[in-house]
């Protein structure tokens, strides 16, 4: 009989979820380390750069996973599943904001909230393009924005985006092209020809 240490690093996401569901704490830690960064970035982008809100959403998502791991279908990819959950959470938040907006004091809730953890020095370097980019991307429709961000910020493939958002790959492609064209058109002042 031989005793071996579990190799969590080599385990797949799906295996980690199964282990976590059985009460395996290191499995949960590994899963958290794999996705917490990407998800908080996603939430920040989707929720108007609000870090506090992004942290709350990340907390809620993992709490759901701890309490009801059976919600995850092991036949699916965990990555696409977790992004679909995150996307739905954001959509629900948009609906809430929409209701609040109608009853608000006129403040624009979609205005990016300043992140205290942001490195201001880096912002100086990229401030002009970044601010314009953020403005431009927020002008995009949510369905186009999320596809664009999932593709370029989270590194998901067309297929994964399609699975996460439960739409066809063709729809993902067309949305992505539309968003890219829109942004390129809006930021054409940063192209070499325009700057000369």
């Amino acid at each position: 009989m031989k005793l071996i240490r579990k190799e969590y690093q080599s385990m797949t996401d799906e295996q980690l979820v199964i282990a976590m569901a059985g009460g395996d704490k290191p499995a949960f830690d590994n899963l958290y380390n794999r996705y917490s960064g990407a998800l908080i970035s996603y939430f920040m982008r989707m929720l108007w750069r609000d870090r506090e809100k992004a942290e709350d959403f990340l907390h809620d998502l993992f709490t759901k996973l701890i309490h009801r791991p059976e919600l995850f279908d092991t036949n699916r990819s965990f990555k696409t599943w977790v992004y679909s959950v995150a996307s739905n959470m954001c959509k629900n938040e948009y609906k809430k904001q929409e209701i609040r907006k109608n009853t608000s004091n006129g403040l624009d809730s979609s205005y990016p909230v300043a992140d205290p953890n942001k490195n201001t020095l880096n912002e100086v370097h990229h401030s002009h393009f970044k601010s314009r980019f953020n403005e431009q991307i927020l002008e995009l429709d949510v369905k186009h924005r999320e596809v664009f961000e999932m593709r370029h910020f989270d590194g998901l493939s067309m297929k994964e985006i399609a699975e996460a958002l439960e739409i066809s790959e063709g729809t993902v492609k067309s949305r992505l092209f539309y968003a890219t064209k829109y942004l390129a058109q809006g930021l054409k002042e940063f192209s070499p020809e325009q700057t000369i």
Partner: protein
């Protein structure tokens, strides 16, 4: 396969192949649009780096840890311990001792059965040969006996009474309380006794016996039957010459000896 984004980032519009141009045309219809896209992706790559550094706070993690501990209290109490998993030793089917023993036995049987079969064949061959050697005499005997049986049945029916009478006469025991039975006659007619003890020929005996017995020997069928009775294991060689042998013992002496034998 490279994506359109990769092509736009890596190549200039003039360097695009026909296939790449077809792909890029979905996103950028002309060189101006292509360059806009290129610039967008270049600038975005900087944005990706800055966004990618975001990490969740420790408070979020510690809160989730407490939730996990509440959900799985028993396991979570000592989660800091090294995780050990018991590895069950998996023995392949063919590596199990009983399979090996069975395989050896099968191999041994497989090898030894042909040899055993051959030895059986050898034994049966020798038995057949022996049987063949024995069969001619037995067959003759059986055939003769069958022939005789039919003849004997007819003859015996007619001559039974005479046989009994002659037997009684031959035995000379007229005061014998027991009635004469055919079995007794047969015993008396068992000439092998004479052959063995007295070296007396069948012919001589037949001659000495009464008339029915003489007629018994006249028929070839009955003679064969008698011969088969006399020589169940085949006719001995000297029996052929027995006709030429003459008895030196009188019938009366012989009957005395027979009686003494019983």
């Amino acid at each position: 396969m490279r994506s359109i984004e990769d092509i736009i980032l890596e190549k200039k519009y003039d360097e695009l192949s026909t296939e790449e141009l077809l792909l890029v045309n979905e996103l950028a219809e002309n060189e101006e649009e292509f360059n806009q896209m290129k610039q967008l992706f270049d600038n975005m790559s900087i944005e990706f780096d800055s966004v990618g550094t975001v990490e969740a706070s420790i408070e979020t993690k510690s809160s989730l840890d407490s939730i996990f501990a509440a959900k799985h209290p028993v396991i979570a109490n000592d989660w800091k311990k090294e995780e050990v998993v018991e590895e069950v030793k998996v023995i392949a089917f063919y590596n199990r001792s009983w399979v090996r023993v069975a395989a050896i036995l099968l191999l041994f049987l497989g090898v030894s059965i042909p040899f055993l079969k051959n030895s059986d064949e050898i034994i049966s061959d020798s038995a057949i040969q022996q049987a063949k050697l024995e069969t001619p005499a037995e067959t003759t005997h059986a055939k003769a006996k069958n022939t005789v049986a039919t003849t004997e049945d007819l003859a015996s029916a007619k001559t039974d009474e005479k046989k009994y009478a002659s037997a009684e006469t031959l035995s000379g025991d007229k005061d014998q309380s027991e009635p004469s039975i055919p079995g007794k006659v047969v015993q008396i007619n068992d000439v092998s006794l004479y052959d063995k003890r007295m070296n007396v020929s069948k012919t001589a005996l037949t001659y000495q016996f009464s008339a029915p017995i003489t007629t018994f020997g006249s028929s070839t069928a009955t003679a064969a039957g008698l011969a088969s009775d006399l020589y169940p294991n085949g006719k001995p060689l000297e029996a052929e010459n027995k006709s030429s042998i003459t008895s030196e013992v009188s019938a009366a002496d012989m009957l005395d000896w027979i009686q003494a034998a019983y």
